[in-house]
Each structure stands twice: as C-alpha cells, then as structure tokens.
Assembly symmetry: C2
Amino acid sequence: MRIGELARLAGVSARALRHYEDRGLLVPGRTGGGYREYADTDVARVAQITAMISAGLNTATVGRYLGCARTGEHGTSLELCPGLSAELVAIGERLEARLAELRDQQARLRELASAD
Amino acid sequence: MRIGELARLAGVSARALRHYEDRGLLVPGRTGGGYREYADTDVARVAQITAMISAGLNTATVGRYLGCARTGEHGTSLELCPGLSAELVAIGERLEARLAELRDQQARLRELASAD
DNA sequence: GTAAGGGTTCACGTCGGCGAGAAGGTCAAG
DNA sequence: CTTGACCTTCTCGCCGACGTGAACCCTTAC
C-alpha cells in the first residue's frame, strides 16, 4: 500500500510516516515511480511506534527497542531487549519529576491568584 | 547598582536580566560608559517577575500585569488588573490539561513496562 | 489529453526562557 | 601601564515530533 492508505489505517499523518522513515523506524520499499510501498505488517509496526512515543520514548529510543516491547495481546519478553527495562524506568523518573515540577508551578499559580 | 550585583541580589543570571529588559519588563538607566544602572527597587521587581514566570506566565503576560500581582506580604488588589484573574484561570486550565496528559503518558508507560 | 488527487523532496516554523560564545569596551587597583 | 573583573551588543542553540507551504512528478479515470 502507499503512504496515504497506511496513514488512514494507522491513524497518523503521512507526514508522521515520512518522519518515522527519516528516523529509521520504518523502511518502506519504492515503486518504479518513486512512491513509498508499505507492507501490511507496517500497520502493526506503526501502532507499536505510536504506542512507544505516546509513552514518552523518543524516536531514537524507539528505534533501539522497536520489536521487543509488548504492544498488544502477544507479550514479547522484555528479556529479549537488554536495557529497555532500565530505559523505561529512567523515563518514568523524568516523568515523575516533570509532574512534580508542574504541581509546584500549580501551587505558585494559586499563590498568585490568591490576592485580596 | 550594575547588572552583576542585581543578579546576585535577585538570584538570577545577568543573562536573564538582559532578557527581561529585551522583553520590556525591566528598563534600567545607563551610565556614561554604557553600563546598565539599576535602582534598589528593581530587586523586588525581579522577584515579582520570577514569581510570575515560575507560575507559568510568559514574559508578554508578565509585562501586561507587572505591578499589580500580589507577590509578598502587601497584597495589591487584583481588581486593579483587569484581565489578570481570567488569565490566571486560563493558565491554570492549560496546566491542568498538561498534568492530565502527563498522567496519561505515565499510564501508557506502565502499560509498556508491564510486559511478561 | 487532461483534470484530479495522489505522491515526491526540501526546508523552515513551532514554543520560549535563557545558555553560551564571540569580539570588544569600561574601570578600579597594583 | 597593565591586568583582570565586569560590562557591552549580537546571534545562534536548545528540545523534538511533527505542521505547513512550495514547487514539481505519478497514476488513474473519463
């Protein structure tokens, strides 16, 4: 299939798909006319990519661990992916820190708003 | 006083003070040699600026409402600042939305990490 | 053959407070 | 006079997943 159809099926923009290719996450074939040619399995691959990105992994990290993270019903073992577990923990910590920052900011905002 | 001293007293970088001036939040005088000349009251002004910024206001908004937000013990009425109250509410809402996003992200991250 | 609706590759914009380096001027002290 | 601390303006960089034209090529239907 071509990029538009995959975009529809996967629920992302064509621009995003080109971006993933740019980052090496998706490597479609090419037709004679230069069009990108995607396989059916790429729908699942994109789902995996978006799942990881929405969890806070950047494209470089996604690239390193693409294929060994559980994304659906058939759980792939994390053991197959040395380092992923630690990476997830690190991301979780940064996320927690960011949440704490925002909560502090929220407190300061309330402080400002509590004028007479 | 000059920029270095104000930076120390206010606990910000000299770069930040130049940035505030760039945004029109701080307008120091100039010495014959071209040095910025700050008044003693600017220490409090900077405190007010950083308080508002740390609460999530951007420099443009700080500029609009600088001087009428409560920052210390002597509460200035919000009534003197038409619009500030609404602005704070809007910022609070965006902040809450961002917090919700991050909590969702945290959930998705846990989802990823819960592989077998 | 031609119009329509894809597709392609750049390449800059976003969001913004401030870090950081370059190149050079000002000034008090030894 | 000279060092050296501190100051000046200028300008790019950051953090990154995309949005958004611009200018042009491919394919298919009619």
